[in-house]
């Protein structure tokens, strides 16, 4: 039985692993990928020590740091479930195996929220995308729609105006949200049209996206586009554990020592109710969580 299993290897999980290795805790790092959402960040300009770095480059630095230690890393193994076998004994299940530990740090991050309309699932990767940074360049000189109205949608729009011919922004609220600076840029762009109070009803297309149907003030409308970028926020990957307290958004509730309400289960990073979803915040939370685990293991006499 391990002393600790860290679930997820984004900034929180990797930092936790570095701290755990230095504390000589007997642990395992189980994850789908190394980097998490940071892989999808284009420009990072607020991680101390790097005035400018891309997400993938920062992840490479994290990995390099991690490789300084002999870390038990299970990659390409998304965790499916965390169970409690008995008090102080938890089981982390993947498709390949089940691992036992005295403590667990849940650092499983977040994933893009789906629109949940007809056509979205079958046309995924066939014109429907959740990452403008990744897939935007495929839509050179094409017409695209961005769905959303807050910062991530504005950011996607501002990336796409330089690539696509025309960008439609479908915003469910009466006015755009997000930062005023970005909003002004979007509104000043010549090849953008914003539809406010607009609800997306369907994405259609035979093999690839051909357009969307939406409703604005009760009037049905349609746009012919080749790309649909869904930017309506993210949801926490917290459904792998069902015996800890969560808030209304599904985020795992932690105290300032990263403890959940279940002794032995800790959580860190974007999966928690800690308000700021930032790389540097997640990394700091990852560090704190291991210090919490270390104290817990010491107090419980192991």
């Amino acid at each position: 039985m391990y002393e600790l299993i860290i679930v997820g290897a984004g900034p929180a999980g990797i930092t936790a692993a570095v701290y755990a290795a230095r504390k000589k805790i007997d642990f395992l790092l189980v994850t789908q990928d190394v980097g998490g959402q940071t892989l999808l960040s284009s420009d990072v300009e607020n991680y101390t020590g790097y005035q400018f770095i891309t997400g993938p480059e920062l992840v490479a630095k994290f990995e390099e740091h991690l490789k300084q230690f002999n870390v038990g890393l299970k990659k390409d193994e998304p965790v499916e479930r965390i169970l409690q076998a008995k008090e102080g004994h938890f089981v982390v299940e993947t498709k390949k195996a089940a691992y036992s530990a005295k403590t667990v740090i849940v650092a499983s991050g977040r994933r893009p929220r789906w629109l949940d309309v007809k056509g979205e699932e079958p046309l995924r990767n066939k014109g429907v995308s959740y990452c403008a940074t990744c897939d935007g360049p495929l839509f050179s000189k094409k017409n695209v729609v961005v769905i959303g109205g807050a910062n991530s949608a504005l950011d996607a729009t501002l990336q796409l105006i330089h690539i696509a011919s025309y960008v439609y922004l479908i915003n469910i609220n009466p006015e755009l949200g997000g930062d005023p600076i970005m909003r002004d840029k979007v509104q000043a762009a010549k090849n953008v049209k914003v539809f406010n109070s607009a609800v997306t009803k369907e994405i259609f297309g035979a093999q690839f996206v051909e357009g969307i149907k939406f409703e604005q003030n009760g009037v049905a409308n349609e746009l012919k586009v080749q790309g649909v970028f869904v930017e309506i926020g993210s949801i926490p990957n917290s459904n792998i554990v069902d015996f800890v307290a969560k808030n209304n958004n599904g985020e795992i509730i932690v105290d300032n020592l990263n403890r959940t309400n279940m002794p032995g289960i800790f959580a860190a990073g974007d999966v928690t109710d800690v308000p700021e979803k930032q790389i540097i915040v997640a990394a700091g939370e990852g560090a704190k969580s291991v210090l919490g685990v270390s104290r817990y293991l010491y107090q419980s006499g192991s």
Partner: protein, 78 residues
Amino acid sequence: MAKIKVYSTPTCPYCIRVKNYLKEKNILFENIDVSVDEAGLAEMIRVSGQMGVPVISIDGDVMVGFDQEKIDSKLGLG
């Protein structure tokens, strides 16, 4: 030697990782930047039936995304 094509864009994170991985292993590949190469993009869509990048073709065997284990087994790396 296996004929390898990587259909990619300059910004997609997994594209960067695939290319870095192949370079690290000293494996030659043809990079097709589908953000500028329209014929390349059409070819990628035809062989993979979808628009996600990266697409990796090893001797005509097509895979979508960076799956290191699959690449390793196809190229006999480890």
